[in-house]
Symmetry: C2
Subunit: 332 residues, 2 copies
């Protein structure tokens, strides 16, 4: 099948550039801290220090939703670039190193002053669920100047995080990237990121989906929050009128890929041991995006997404540990 | 059995306070970089930057040989404290957090200027061997002022890294700690750390073992390098005249615990999947030290060491992920 996209131009991800600080935790600890299991909470510097003092020994690893997706694309062997903001501190160096090491274009020079590189304190409970507490730091200062319009214009897809909508100036950066992408004939994509994020920015995200966004990623709870309905048929009908492709994930029940005149149901790929759900949605998106730019049909795109999600939830950390290109070769 | 030690006073570890930066690698990459597989290389800041640029995506986790051993002791439920030097930078914060979070006493205030917190770029090859490239940074400025003589005097054991012998001023810090420990009736312990380290400081380490050191940890290669013989009987005869207890590890062949009038052979504990040998020696030492202060016989001390080593080589990173206290409860 012929790909409708220029496969040589990188897909561009845009999001909060975050280093994850991952520790094992317990439901009791979450309850004691007033944290909703599975949620993403924005915290300030003081709360970050306080929570960090209380949590267990941790590992640090590069994260950030859209950045994870770009890392997944690179692992598939696809071309990917990333736009996000770090400081010239040690965690910023870690973030930049990991992007370059995995082959994702990331050219922004780190900020010389201002807040520190963003970090997310991630508490993983024995049910493999992750509860995130994110100090956005300098990542929240992403502005339109940081967006390379030429890069976004050439990209087959610009993939944006809903999380960025938490930050006023970053909205303009995202809109600039989306509009450049549309002007270049690309397909702007959005992931809704988190139910609470959808609730925080309900109308604006609705407008975005009805507007420039052509590819929508959402888990079923986020889709329900966006359309304020629990009726799947209603959701399917809505996305059909608003986007070219909606990918709705349902955890172990798999996912739906919906276009104006098609609906494909995709199975989740079973895993031997569920270790840490961090990055599941990010890697699912990587699989689907890689499938799209490779010219695969919807069912194959969904299967690549399921495969990438299964890989990442089998170990700690939000990025693939095994080559997704190799795993895909076995699948295709 | 009655313990000869005061179990309430912490064992004190003293060493280079290091954050590990762990990436998967290949024998070809090591060869191309002129690195001897399994070695620990000291590198300067420029080389650290160069090698970091070349290596793959990494995870960051607190390390440092003696610090890992103290973390293991805490995981056994034992009292442990640590002496080492970090900067007031992000990696220093990570190191301090992880010590406190695991319950190891670590009271040093981070340096406000000078070199950055130490880091070790660790390349793990598919055979699970780790090759370390360590930028010592501020850890190499550990000095006698950093040593709390009262803490060392009260400690049943002060456990020192051979690695510290690479640093002139740190030698004095170690000697101060050892002498305080001897004066308080404790048993200073030394791990030889690395064959190349033994070769770099051959005569001085010989003097140390024949002098204040009462408990010696070495793998067979380090012991051979120390006594310049491949004859195990000769090594056993030598350590019997020089230390109260020598623990000689032999990888999958297990270990020997040698006292002036006893010799116990201990099996290695088999593992399902060997993932990363980082921390094997450190956790073996934790098991033996915990056994000693708990008043167990030599065979049990060795078995606790084998158990802790088996736990740590079954996953990435040099510190236990599962409670060693729980694992020990099954064993004892």
């Amino acid at each position: 099948m012929q790909s409708p996209f220029d496969a040589s131009a990188p897909i561009v991800g845009i999001g909060n550039a975050i280093v994850d600080v991952i520790a094992e935790s317990t439901p009791e600890f979450l309850a004691g801290q007033g944290l909703v299991p599975g949620s993403m909470n924005l915290i300030d510097s003081d709360r970050a220090d306080e929570l960090y003092d209380l949590m267990g020994p941790a590992i640090e690893t590069s994260g950030g939703s859209a950045a994870n997706t770009m890392a997944g694309l690179a692992s598939f062997g696809g071309a990917a670039a990333y736009i996000g903001k770090v400081r010239d501190d040690q965690l910023g160096e870690v973030f930049g190193h990991d992007m370059h090491a995995i082959g994702v274009g990331f050219d922004a020079s780190p900020g010389a002053d201002g807040p520190a590189t963003a970090r997310s304190l991630i508490l993983v409970t024995p049910d493999a669920q992750r509860t995130m507490n994110t100090f956005l730091g300098i990542s929240s200062l992403l502005s339109p100047e940081d967006v390379d319009a030429d890069l976004c214009s050439a990209a087959p897809i610009v993939y944006c995080e809903g999380y960025l909508w938490d930050v006023e100036v970053a909205k303009d950066a995202m809109l600039k990237a989306m509009h450049a992408n549309v002007a270049g004939g690309g397909r702007p994509a959005l992931t809704l990121s988190d139910t609470f994020c959808v609730e925080r920015h309900h109308q604006e995200l609705l407008d975005l989906v009805a507007g420039p966004i052509d590819i929508l990623f959402a888990n079923i709870h986020e889709a329900e929050a966006l359309y304020r309905t629990e009726d799947l048929d209603t959701i399917v009908a809505r996305v059909r009128t608003e986007v070219g492709l909606a990918c709705i994930t349902r955890g172990a029940e798999g996912s739906l890929l919906v276009t104006p005149d098609d609906l494909v149901e995709v199975q989740a790929q079973p895993v031997e041991e569920l270790v840490d759900t961090s990055g599941a949605g990010d890697q699912y998106a990587a699989g689907v995006l890689h499938g799209l730019v490779s010219g695969h049909d919807l069912a194959t795109c969904g299967a690549l997404g399921s495969m990438a999600a299964a890989e990442v939830i089998s170990h700690y950390g939000p990025r693939p540990r095994h080559s997704l290109a190799e795993l895909a070769a076995d699948l295709l």
